[in-house]
């Protein structure tokens, strides 16, 4: 395995692993705070039980998220010293802010988990709220740093060096808003629908306790609206990419020749040698309409860019199709479920319909798969650049040889860790009360 590929694989694997825990670390605290708030309002012990259950899940996942996030912050230097040398002083600001958000989150998670009978109810709920808010802020800051890699700003390039560095200017980059919006909604949608799915399974297995019904209601009230809003935020993202990263747009749409009124390709396989997209459903003018909100707009094709600046077209196109398909299913199911809930005026309208529960169980993992696919689109779609148009990934990698070894070691470590987390969460879920 060539060193560059090994380094990219290790980074991709580390991010792909961490993102699951980061996302749950954003979504689960929101659920647990809602449950605790409901307990304080209603005095119903099932809500308290839920808050405690979810907080335990949050503790396990937060710990793994914290250590895998530490690994990532080091890997920036271990694998990409050239990137850090160039970009450290420009994009350090969101990382510093993220450090504070993470610190606040860790402090108040400690208060929340261990402070049930040490602080007042109000203080305890407040601690949970701080965890939930700082979790979102952490995610937003990290995604801003990634957005900078897609649409670099806040410096001038002179002879390959960055001068006139403006750290806050770098944070206000073109992709920052659309990427953070898309990721935050993704975190709520993925966590909310996954948790809803888990409790749907529990009800299907005959445990229709208030515990599971409340859980379903809270998880759906977070996940379903986020899933419904996500396609709109996807539209904002697509238009940003169309404007600032036309080659990425061309790759993710498998669009080879520049044209006005460009068609949208759904599915299909991009053949980069013949520069054709095979077996795709073509919607006339669809791409122009989606990317520029104008059916006759000109969309640049891959052919307009030098061949050595193309990302791996097939991977990006397929990953994009997967993300959009999963997101669409999640949004449609969410509309359907919320409609039943609204018509029945009670969560029982969902919890008593077995076919609805089965569908919820089926879509439970989709949010996470969509997130992995989405990150593949944005990261692979930026290649061969680590900083779009400024620094190539190949020029940023460490000179150390034999990088396949750390790649394999960290992969094994994370496989082991992932298996243990699944095992522990199953233990937690298996002990759900049936009262």
């Amino acid at each position: 395995m060539p060193d560059l590929l090994a380094a990219r694989s290790q980074m991709a694997m580390s991010l792909g692993f961490h993102i699951v825990f980061a996302v749950v670390g954003i979504g689960l605290p929101a659920l647990m705070v809602i449950a605790e708030w409901r307990w304080i309002r209603t005095g119903d012990g099932a809500y308290l039980e839920l808050a405690k259950r979810w907080s335990k899940g949050a503790a396990i996942l937060f710990a793994v998220g914290a250590v895998s996030g530490t690994v990532l912050s080091f890997e920036l230097g271990l694998l990409w010293p050239g990137f850090m040398r160039f970009a450290g002083s420009i994009i350090g600001m969101p990382f510093s802010l993220e450090g504070f958000a993470f610190f606040t989150e860790a402090i108040f998670l400690g208060v929340y988990l261990y402070g049930w009978d040490r602080v007042s109810r109000g203080a305890h709920l407040f601690a949970g709220l701080v965890v939930a808010v700082s979790g979102v802020m952490s995610g937003i800051f990290v995604v801003i740093a990634n957005a900078w890699m897609n649409t670099p700003a806040g410096f001038r390039l002179v002879d390959g060096n960055a001068v006139d560095v403006r750290p806050f200017g770098a944070m206000a980059n073109a992709a920052a808003f659309s990427q953070t919006l898309h990721m935050t909604l993704a975190a709520y949608a993925a966590t909310g629908l996954a948790v809803a799915g888990i409790h749907a399974v529990s009800i299907l297995r005959g445990n229709a306790s208030p515990f599971n019904r409340y859980a379903l209601a809270i998880a759906l009230s977070l996940g379903a609206p986020a899933a419904i809003l996500q396609p709109l935020s996807g539209d904002v993202s697509a238009r940003m990419v169309a404007e600032y990263q036309p080659v990425k747009l061309a790759a993710l749409e498998s669009h080879f020749e520049t044209q006005r009124g460009a068609p949208l390709h759904i599915g299909g396989w991009p053949d980069v040698d013949t520069r054709e997209t095979r077996w795709a459903i073509k919607i006339p003018r669809g791409l122009s309409l989606l990317a520029f909100h104008d059916p006759n707009a000109e969309v640049k094709g891959l052919a307009d860019f030098p061949r050595d600046e193309w990302p791996p077209v097939a991977i990006v196109h397929i990953a994009f199709q997967i993300m959009v398909a999963l997101g669409t299913v999640m949004a449609l199911v969410s509309v359907w479920v919320l409609w039943h809930w609204w018509r029945g005026r009670s969560i029982d309208a969902v919890a008593d319909r077995r076919h609805l529960l089965r569908v919820l169980a089926l879509i439970a993992p989709m949010g996470f798969l969509a997130i992995e696919a989405g990150w593949t689109v944005t990261e692979v779609g930026r290649q061969p650049w680590i900083v779009y148009g400024v620094l190539r990934t190949a020029d940023a990698v460490t000179p150390m040889p034999g990088l396949v070894v750390p790649f394999l070691v960290f992969t094994l470590l994370y496989l082991l860790l992932g298996a243990i987390v699944v095992y522990l969460l199953r233990q937690q879920i298996a002990r759900a009360p049936s009262r």
């Binding site: 405690k52 920036l76 850090m84 402090i107 750290p167 460490t398 150390m400």
Partner: protein, 352 residues
């Protein structure tokens, strides 16, 4: 001596590193005592350690993130050089951090059989030993100038794999620094634990004797490191010849003796302060001896610094963040460390 902006940033990093050593470092030391738990109160020792670390270790761990982020924001070439030359030990340290953090939480939240919890306890304990040892070796590698030399050799393309990526951090001196780090952090943890164990005299005595043993080991290893380091370049030479660094080094000796004597006299609060002072002064002795270099033998703090605007804005954010962070940390420590009560594990309230 007027401070320049990069120097202020560097001092802030040292302060954060100091906090990491005093808080996070003691958590590592706690893991070492989990590994070495023995005698009739073996289980109580382990429980006390787990209760002491439980609510605060996540927050303690974040100091490391602050150090790393500050380093790559304010001194990007330094972070790049560490990442390159110290790739292997830093990866080992990361594996240790991953295993330690996750094993600790897995143990707390497992419903599995006792043997399973014990296995995670062992993973937690062994990785608590490896991580600070490797971190100390990395410090030794930087101090001795090997990291700087290897980085220059890599940049000029005239070096082999072992010379560039292995030999810089494996030397008798760096191994001595690694061992000293483990001994010092174990000493720190045992001293803190004497206060956590205030309700149980026998348990308190266990940690008192452990603290004294670790103190002796740390002193011996410090002397060995000084002797081995005498021949490894300018930084260690400056620790020995008269100057600020020597003064601080002498101060660390005074703190060491004070902590040992107060442990003998059972004055545990004083011992805790003196122990923290000892560890702190060792750190600052190193930093002062190395000043104004950030990577010996020749990369200075100023030469490695990011543009002024980055430094100013980062420090402004730090100041703003500190306004939120310091009261929060104080709140956390007041809740869980304030009155010396034993903190319940997260399992307990649920059974009520």
């Amino acid at each position: 001596m007027s401070l320049t902006l990069p120097e202020v940033a560097a001092w802030i990093i040292v302060v954060a590193l100091n906090a990491y050593v005093l808080f996070g470092g003691a958590d590592f030391g706690g893991g070492v005592w989990d590994l070495l738990a023995s005698g009739p109160r073996r289980q109580q020792q382990r429980d006390l350690i787990a209760h002491a670390i439980g609510p605060i270790w996540e927050a303690n761990h974040v100091w490391l993130i602050v150090v790393v982020v500050m380093l790559f924001v304010c001194f990007p070439p330094t972070f790049a050089a560490f990442g390159t030359v110290l790739h292997i030990p830093l990866s080992l340290m990361l594996i240790g951090i991953v295993l330690r953090g996750s094993a600790f939480v897995f143990r707390s939240y497992s419903y599995g059989p006792r043997s399973e919890q014990r296995r995670w306890g062992q993973t937690f304990a062994i990785s608590s030993l490896i991580t600070p040892a490797v971190l100390g070796m990395c410090v030794g590698a930087v101090v001795s100038g090997h990291v700087g030399a290897a980085m220059s050799a890599i940049e000029s393309g005239r070096t082999g794999f072992t010379a560039a990526y292995i030999r810089p951090w494996i030397s008798p001196f760096s191994i001595a620094v690694g061992a000293m780090t483990v001994a010092l952090l174990s000493f720190l943890a045992a001293t803190y634990l004497t206060i956590e164990a205030a309700d149980d005299r026998a348990l308190q005595d266990d940690f008192r004797s452990r603290a004294l043993g670790a103190a002796v080991a740390a002193m011996a290893l410090a002397i060995i490191a000084l002797v081995l380091g005498a021949g490894t370049g300018d930084v260690m030479a400056r620790l020995i010849k008269p100057g600020w660094a020597t003064l601080v080094l002498a101060g660390s000796g005074v703190a060491a003796v004070t902590s040992a004597v107060s442990l003998l006299q059972r004055r545990f609060q004083l011992a805790r302060v003196a122990a923290a002072a000892w560890v702190t002064l060792v750190l600052w002795g190193w930093v002062l001896a190395q000043f104004p270099l950030i990577i010996p033998p020749d990369l200075t703090i100023r030469a490695a610094a990011a543009p002024d605007r980055t430094l100013v804005e980062t420090m402004a954010v730090l100041a703003g963040g500190a306004v939120v962070l310091i009261p929060s940390l104080w709140y956390l420590l007041r809740i869980f460390k304030g009155s010396g009560q034993v903190v319940k594990s997260p399992e307990e309230p649920q059974r009520n």
